[in-house]
Symmetry: C3
Subunit: 321 residues, 3 copies
């Protein structure tokens, strides 16, 4: 991977993706391989919105690489609320750290930030925009469980608002996957996203009923239908109920079906699925660590090792770094 | 100590307790003894309720052991508020860390969590339930100052709601201590707790006036009487005032009386006690570090060193650890 | 520097200041020089008020020195809200860490804290009081860009409430600087501060219009005029507007004028200044790292190396450190 920043899944070619996933697999097998290189590396965690798993996962990843973090803390505990611009905040923070992981409520925030600093910026979610490291760990999990070639995947739930879904579908066009989108009418994949997928040559179909395709799927990717999308509680209960799965549902699936979910889940997947061989969602979350190690290694590394993840990020040290 | 998790003080035998205290004493004398072993160890701090000293103390302990932390942050800054279950949260977090320290408002939370993960769970307080590492540091302090054999201890203040008091009393039954419980009528030790102590062979007496026993005590353990227990402010002021001590009170005590308090204190112990030889409450808080080092060493260690604290926790690495 | 604590800029002699700045310059040039010495050092971050840059800067500094932190967290997540006194809080925390960085809303808090603990206390801002490490990084930046000898400096904005300004001016009396204070009538430098500066032999003049002195200045130090100082929004807009600078303003300045700002800024300095050679405010923030490294090295170090920053802080280890 030869990028200065990771801003969107769309910037990654098939070659980029495979390089990161290969590197992640290597690091998962031998986490200590790079420890010495990052002993003096500090990664700034700048989360302008709440997060558990993404933040802890990046925190773990840089520490597993041998580095450490400086944390901006919550917005409430920071000087952001004094009216400072994002551009100013990141320009200050680049003096403290060798890279910046940024989550922000505004779409485009990571891209904006990247234009003001010389250290690598990783987009860890920008509003309704992108969350590329989530996409990479999804791809890693799919590759590990079902393979990325000749894949038939079902993506179910809230397809209208879910940025995770849009990024994953876009990335899968690199691998010629057959995609089935399963949702209530009111939460269908937006027209614009569909057009983009068609343009990229995607093979996609839409369904309102999971059973139409369940038996064909290698992977079923479930997302949460949010209560707040429905003005009426009864309507929410009825519709959400139709897109929940349990162990009984999966008896109609192939034995080797892999069930994924970006988490947190609420009721979409019943607890009785957890103990089945289908369940991959906790392993998926755990895969965030080696995938983010590989990502950071690509962005922060000096590229000297010639490894798949060696990057070319601009990290020339200023006087205070 | 041979446990996978530390969930309650009740699970610890006299032998377990003495092993942890011995190990803590060793580590206090030579904190660097284990540094190399934990260089790659990450401890997850999952505090669903506010805490200063317990959280900082565990944070310090794992760092003094050579390891580091990943912090879940406050509930407000996490995805917990999206409705994720505790079981899901800890199953994700076990992919990031080699052990989990959990504080949670619900009694039984740590036990529940321990049933879902393969890494050691330490209960750092679960509602009205247990706080076993507090009990261990209390025992450590008592042993250091007065010895655990042939002990006469007074426990004063809010004996009804104080989980610290209940755990400590239960643990002291292992050492055949004479226990005097001093409180207002309305905050007496609950009947159930008394029965359990009697069942364990405890020698206990109740008092409403400290002066009845002050002269006999080796240790006086003071706890805070909380304003919110009393509907009437005047009643609170009057009653709380009767259970406060100052330097003058202690003139009626033995010269070698040790005064302890789990902190934070408000008015229960006047500042003029701080400078006396009786005061042990700050040292008691500081003892949390070696005691928690010993605890973590027992739970996270591989037991190869044959040391008293060598544990047998299940820490086989998943792919992302 | 031979101090146990850093409580106010006023405690620093010219010799102290120069020793810290020299040491900071050395550490900026070779950050790895001291890594081994602080491998076992923990610095407690106790921020009772929000902060981004000061907290992250101290966090970075101790990590760049090879040490690490234990963080008290926000007041909301700590037991402080249970009514614990500051004296008790810091006496507990000194058992966890080798030094304490304290920000607190009450003037004199750091001094009070220092009287209760044996580890070094660094004042990172105490209400309307002091913020000495900010003063040191300001001086470092001035020295680097313009030199501290024969300096002509303009200090503009809110001179009435800005503790940054008062400390910097006091420190500059050590270097016989010519000081021009530029502000609206209602935000002039307080009489008491002026008297103290005169007593210290300062050469100072006051102005309401920047253009009266702009052409003479080596350095222009801009501070924020806070909306909340003005009952009337229109009055604020009008007055604040007169004390904002942009690239056009600076055409009337000397080519080598250095513009500084403690940040965060709002509208005081237009973004078109950022790209000019005048702008030093981001570098100024970044200088916080080597300056705080030097400070901490002076306070935490054992002084054995004979270096300029070698301190004499009391850091004898208690049993739990």
């Amino acid at each position: 991977m030869r990028h200065d920043h990771l801003l969107s899944a769309g910037q990654l070619t098939r070659e980029d993706i495979e390089a990161v996933l290969d590197r992640a697999a290597d690091l998962a097998a031998d986490p200590g391989a790079v420890s010495d290189r990052y002993a003096d590396t500090l990664l700034a965690l700048c989360f302008f919105e709440p997060s558990t798993r993404t933040k802890m996962s990046f925190d773990t990843a840089i520490q597993r690489l041998g580095g450490d973090t400086v944390d901006m803390g919550t917005v409430e505990s920071s000087s952001v609320k004094k009216g400072e611009s994002l551009a100013d905040t990141v320009r200050v923070i680049e003096g403290y750290a060798d890279g910046i992981v940024l989550r922000h409520p505004s779409e485009g925030a990571a891209k904006l930030a990247s234009q003001f600093v010389d250290v690598p910026v990783v987009n860890a979610g920008d509003g309704a925009g992108q969350h590329p490291s989530q996409t990479l760990l999804d791809l890693y999990t799919i590759r590990e469980r079902a393979g990325l070639d000749d894949l038939t995947i079902g993506i179910m739930g809230d397809l209208k608002y879910g940025r995770t879904v849009h990024s994953l579908a876009a990335a899968l066009t690199n691998f010629d996957a057959r995609m089935h989108f399963i949702s209530p009418e009111s939460l269908r994949l937006p027209r614009g996203v569909q057009f983009d997928l068609h343009d990229a040559g995607a093979r996609l179909r839409e369904h309102t009923d999971l059973d139409e395709v369940l038996g064909e799927l290698d992977v079923l990717y479930v997302t949460r239908i949010q209560r707040e999308r429905f003005p009426d509680e009864n309507e929410y209960q009825q519709i959400a109920g139709e897109y929940q799965i349990d162990a009984e549902t999966l008896e109609r699936a192939r034995d080797d079906l892999t069930v994924m979910h970006p988490l947190p889940r609420v009721d979409e997947i019943a607890p009785d699925v957890d103990a089945t061989e289908h369940a991959a969602y906790f392993a998926q979350a755990h895969n965030g660590v080696p995938v983010r190690m590989a990502l950071l290694d690509g962005l922060l590394g000096d590229g000297d090792d010639g490894g798949a993840g060696g990057g070319a990020a601009a990290t020339d040290g200023g006087e205070s770094r």
